[in-house]
């Protein structure tokens, strides 16, 4: 099977020239059609940057210094802007992290969903509204007709996240970037949202790159996973294998440091600071090699 998304050797630096700091150091990730891949890492690992790079949403002071991002065989980075815009929201969609801030507070829910539909699918106002209602029903919102006319502040956080999920699936994309979509939610709501994402993924046939820091979430929804640290891929494989038999010491240490409701306190082992230090010094060694123009 050919990958629907192939990120190859991606390097991203942030900051002005001369003072730029690397945030991605040659990361490569593949996502196959219909696959859910977890992109796991702690803050500063570069996992969100990778997601943003795919969507062309890097901050203004960030530059892609090397690498390619191929979507369905075409390099997104070499593509002219208008052409890429036609893919975004239609073939590649985003489920954002924070449901409280990711909806426009002064526009009604229905109008925001309908805008995507009429922009990409050319639906008329009426058609778009009808389809928006269907999408809301699909994400288990009762009385979709009423919710269409509400403003975001009038619905709960969990419901807002479902609206954002509906918008992501609106144009039947083949790839969805989910950027920590459940981090801001309560556990019970998180579970509902994960169930929902899985259900829609199956019915719409999309692949998902699921960015998260939570190994528990990865275990439940991702078939494959990639562990990122300091912008580098440390480990990659089937989720069941990685969690049961982690090969990299960092993955092992993360698992041991994750508190578990099913185990007593004594089982908790914090990540050894020496391990983190050695990972960073390796990353900085690679930076110096790259600066000297040597292959890493």
């Amino acid at each position: 099977m050919t990958a629907i998304l192939a990120v190859r050797d991606l390097h991203v630096a942030i900051g002005r020239r001369g003072h730029a700091a690397n945030v991605l150091r040659g990361a490569s990730v593949d996502v196959e059609p219909g696959e859910v891949r977890g992109l796991v890492g702690e803050s500063g690992a570069g996992k969100s940057m990778l997601g943003r790079a795919i969507l062309g949403l890097l901050p203004a002071n960030a530059v892609i210094t090397a690498g390619t991002i191929a979507f369905e065989g075409r390099d997104l980075l070499a593509m002219p802007e208008p052409e890429r815009r036609k893919l975004l929201g239609r073939r590649i969609a985003l489920i954002p992290q924070d449901p409280m801030t990711s909806l426009n507070p002064v526009r009604r829910v229905g109008a925001q969903i309908a805008a995507v539909l009429s922009h990409h699918l050319g639906l008329s106002k009426r058609q778009a509204r009808a389809r928006a209602g269907e999408l809301l029903a699909e994400v288990a919102i009762r009385e979709p007709g009423r919710v269409l006319d509400l403003y975001p502040h009038e619905i709960s956080g969990g419901m807002r996240q479902r609206v954002l999920i509906a918008m992501a699936f609106a144009c039947n994309p083949s790839l969805i970037i989910a950027d920590e979509p459940t981090t801001a939610l309560d556990v019970t709501v998180q579970r509902q949202v994960l169930q929902l994402v899985e259900r829609l993924r199956q019915s719409h046939g999309a692949a998902i790159l699921f960015v998260t820091h939570d190994l528990g979430v990865v275990a439940k929804i991702c078939r494959t996973m990639t562990v990122l640290h300091a912008g580098r891929v440390l480990e990659d494989g089937m989720t069941a294998d990685v969690l049961a038999r982690p090969r990299h010491p960092y993955t092992r240490a993360l698992l041991a440091a994750t508190p578990r409701a099913d185990r007593p306190a004594e089982a908790l082992r914090p990540v050894p600071p020496a391990l983190i230090e050695s990972l960073w010094s390796e990353a900085h060694r690679l930076d110096r090699l790259a600066d000297a123009g040597l292959p890493s």
Binding site: V187, Q192, L194, Q195, D214, P259, A261, D262, A265
Partner: protein, 286 residues
């Protein structure tokens, strides 16, 4: 001396809802309802609940940042629920709170040395500038930060380091009782474990009594002796941690535990039709 350091009885808190008309009598919104809890000296009680459960309000009542609408709070055998600000002041040295967001609770313009010893100064427990530096350095050492950090500003610290500094500040006056509100929820797993173990070590060393507020049951299990589960302002279940985790009695506790995604692959987890499932969601009001 009683072996219960803090006890609440029928503790409630409500505030008037903003009415749509100035003439209608405002309805009262009950945030904390009739809470009876006891925190034995030297133990850690976990307060667990989802957003809107009233756990933060309950914590703020316990340190008397808020005044209860009804009910009582006994601290070390004395009723403090109705004390005014002036009467509370001597007790403030014994009761401390650590906040969720160290970024905003540490004054960004002050060096850590100043922030850490400010309360000591207020309570007249400092003997000059050198004493302040020494005490600040001791506190930093206590929470595992380099003593050189006395001259650092909060923005020069990482998230985990700031949270340690927040803990150090709360310890400055050697309090008997600490309420910690979601203090590890913003931290990465690798940092979080270190802070949790630090708290565990400190309570053993200093004999601290704590209330640890969290939305995360897994974290509570690491640190707490007892746990109280809150829902909509009410305690639905409370008891020793091991009992609650091994045989939860209340339906809500069970659904909370079932909703936690453990880092094990478990194929049926997403299909389960329990109370926290999508099937349930469709039946609920929008």
């Amino acid at each position: 001396m009683s072996d219960i350091l803090l006890r609440t009885a029928g503790l409630s808190f409500a505030y008037p809802e903003r009415g749509s008309s100035p003439f209608a009598r405002p309805a009262m919104r009950q945030v904390v309802k009739d809470v009876d809890l006891a925190v034995p000296r030297g133990s850690v009680l976990g307060l667990v609940g989802e957003s809107g459960s009233g756990k933060t309000t309950l914590g703020r009542l316990m340190v008397r940042l808020l005044q209860p609408t009804s009910g009582s709070i006994q601290f070390d055998g004395a009723e403090i629920g109705r004390l005014g600000e002036v009467e509370m002041r001597p007790l403030r040295a014994r009761i401390q709170m650590i906040f969720q967001d160290p970024q905003s609770s540490l004054n960004p313009r002050l060096r850590l040395g100043v922030t850490l010893t400010r309360q000591l100064k207020v309570f007249g427990r400092l003997k000059g500038r050198q004493d302040a530096r020494d005490r600040a350095a001791d506190l930093l050492e206590l929470v595992g930060l380099p003593t050189g950090f006395v001259d650092r500003y909060p923005h020069e610290l990482s998230g985990g380091q700031r949270q340690r500094a927040g803990i150090a500040r709360a310890l400055a006056l050697q309090p008997d009782f600490i309420v910690a509100d979601e203090i590890v929820s913003g931290l990465d797993v690798s940092t979080q474990a270190h802070v949790l173990l630090l708290l565990k070590e400190l309570r053993a060393r200093l004999g601290l009594t704590m209330v640890f507020i969290s939305h995360d049951l897994s974290v509570v299990r690491v640190l707490c002796d007892d746990v109280a589960i809150l829902k909509a302002g009410e305690v639905v279940e409370s008891g020793p941690v091991e009992r609650i985790f091994s045989s939860p009695q209340h339906e809500y506790t069970r659904s909370l535990l079932a909703a936690i995604p453990l880092p094990d692959v478990e194929p049926g987890w997403l299909d389960d039709a329990g109370p926290a499932s999508i099937q349930h969601l469709q039946g609920s009001a929008a």
